[in-house]
């Protein structure tokens, strides 16, 4: 474990709850470690497990998935799908040698800025303890050899 290791965590947030919780934390000047890079999705149900795998394969040390509390999904029950995908993905990742603590699922409502900040802090510390993941930077292929490169476009709020 390196002395000054700063984990890189990719956080997926849901537009309706957890992204607003993060926004609220910012507005209220609640402090949390800058190790997390938040990516906004419309819903945790949009989270394709590919995103998590790509993050880990591309150098992330951990991935935090967040969404609305059970029963509170803006799209009725997509967060349950996220839950089931997460549980199945976690089992698969363990077989790939990735510690379960590196991929977490947290529910946070739009009012829970403080709680989300706490969860982020806890996760960063847990990953710091685990050390860098350092997945090899082999050239990514999509199984068909073409380099899977997805162009991202900035979307205004």
């Amino acid at each position: 474990m390196t002395e000054n290791f700063e984990p890189v965590i990719i956080g997926f947030t849901c537009n309706w709850c957890s992204y607003r919780a993060a926004d609220l934390a910012g507005t209220a000047r609640v402090k949390y470690p800058p190790n997390i890079r938040l990516i906004r999705l419309m819903c945790s149900g949009r989270l394709d497990p590919t995103f998590v795998l790509k993050a880990l394969a591309s150098g992330a040390d951990g991935v935090l998935i967040t969404g609305c509390h059970p029963g509170e999904c803006h799209y009725l029950e997509q967060n349950y799908k996220a839950l089931r995908r997460f549980l199945l993905l976690r089992r698969t990742l363990v077989q790939m040698g990735i510690e379960p603590d590196r991929v977490r699922l947290v529910w946070a409502s739009a009012a829970e800025g403080v709680r989300l900040a706490e969860e982020i802090t806890k996760m960063v510390e847990a990953v710091r303890q685990l050390g860098p993941l350092n997945w090899p930077k082999w050239q990514q292929t999509n199984g068909h050899g073409e380099h899977a490169h997805i162009e991202a476009e900035e979307v205004s709020a």
Binding site: P49, T50, K54, M96, T141, N142
Partner: protein
């Protein structure tokens, strides 16, 4: 080696089982068309040939090379590079070359464990505990064997590949169709597809070709097919709780397994547009589980005892992660 003016054809096997060669021979009398239109320049399974004969050829001298097998050791990689230089068209032929296939499952284990399994388990008769040595002193000099790589690679992770032909093995009628196409191209009657294309397969999923009836899928329990006394022969297997990989798998086989009463295991690889085969299956399976209670979901998931094996049986080496941590950390 004779030269009769016909374009040259080569087929090579790296880390593979030989099933791909059998599938090629299984095309029946179509093999005579191959002979009529091509000179077989190099095909270690079918005829005697030496690497030095290939090395002596001019670059690009071989028109078409079907390369099957994954890249497990130095020799595989060296021949892949050699055939790339000598071939105008290099086809990753079969699941091993395309995505790693069964040999790629070794990417879940430490390289040392792979060798231990081969040389030291109860099923191996090796009373003197003989192990291969990379370098060995003989009276005539030092002999070498190719270095074993910690992680199995797919062909396109080592060299540039022109076309991909999936399947374990590719279906014979698909091989015949591809050979027909190449012969037509030779006679100027057809054009080759764009470089990088998947040939000899469909653009959809196995489910699309599967005749079983599909309704709303709500699963309370995953079952292993050998544990079910009677399956409905007309109903979707996934709906009956059998983990069937059809939803993520490329079609082209004609959905043979589900029609024979067995689940799709995914040998035709990821469907068009799927970046990570396992991730797509995780999405598909998780979506059909009929529970919102974490404890119950975990119980249902216990019905898939080996998720990595279920989701990456053929695709591990070609997946985003490619290999488990113990494998890529392993050194020999």
């Amino acid at each position: 080696m004779t030269t009769n003016g016909k374009p040259k054809f080569a087929m090579y096997w790296a880390a593979s089982c030989g099933g791909c060669e059998i599938a090629v021979l299984n095309i029946g009398e179509k093999i005579l068309d191959v002979d009529a239109n091509f000179e077989v320049a190099f095909w270690p399974v079918a005829m005697d040939a030496k690497y030095k004969d290939v090395e002596a050829m001019e670059d690009g001298a071989i028109l078409l090379t079907l390369f099957n097998g994954g890249i497990r050791n130095e020799e595989n990689a060296e021949i892949a590079r050699l055939l790339r230089r000598k071939s105008q068209i290099l086809v990753a032929f079969g699941s091993c070359a395309c995505e790693g296939c069964i040999p790629g499952l070794a990417n879940l284990s430490k390289p040392q464990d792979v060798l231990d399994t081969v040389y030291s388990t109860v099923s191996t008769d090796n009373p003197n505990a003989v192990r291969p040595q990379y370098h060995y002193q003989m009276p005539e000099g030092v002999i070498h064997i190719p270095t074993f790589y910690p992680v199995l690679k797919t062909l396109d992770q080592v060299v540039d590949v022109d076309y991909y032909m999936p399947g374990c093995p590719p279906e014979s009628h698909q091989i015949a169709a591809v050979i027909d196409l190449v012969i037509k191209v030779l006679h100027g009657e057809a054009q080759l597809p764009a470089k990088g294309a998947t040939i000899g397969a469909g653009n959809s999923t196995v489910c699309d070709d599967c005749p079983r009836a599909r309704n709303v899928k709500l699963i309370k329990k995953f079952v292993r097919i050998q544990d079910v006394p009677e399956l409905d022969p007309h109903l979707c297997l996934l709906e009956q709780g059998v983990p069937c990989n059809g939803p993520a798998t490329r079609n082209g086989c004609g959905a043979l397994c589900p029609q024979a009463g067995a689940q799709c295991i995914g040998c035709y690889g990821p469907a068009e547009g799927v970046i990570d085969y396992g991730a797509r299956l995780i999405t598909a399976f998780a979506s059909v589980i009929d529970s919102n209670d974490p404890a119950e979901i975990e119980r249902i998931l216990d019905g898939i005892p080996d998720p990595a094996g279920q989701f990456y049986r053929f695709n591990l080496a070609g997946s985003l992660l490619r290999a488990a941590k113990p494998a890529w950390q392993g050194k020999l």
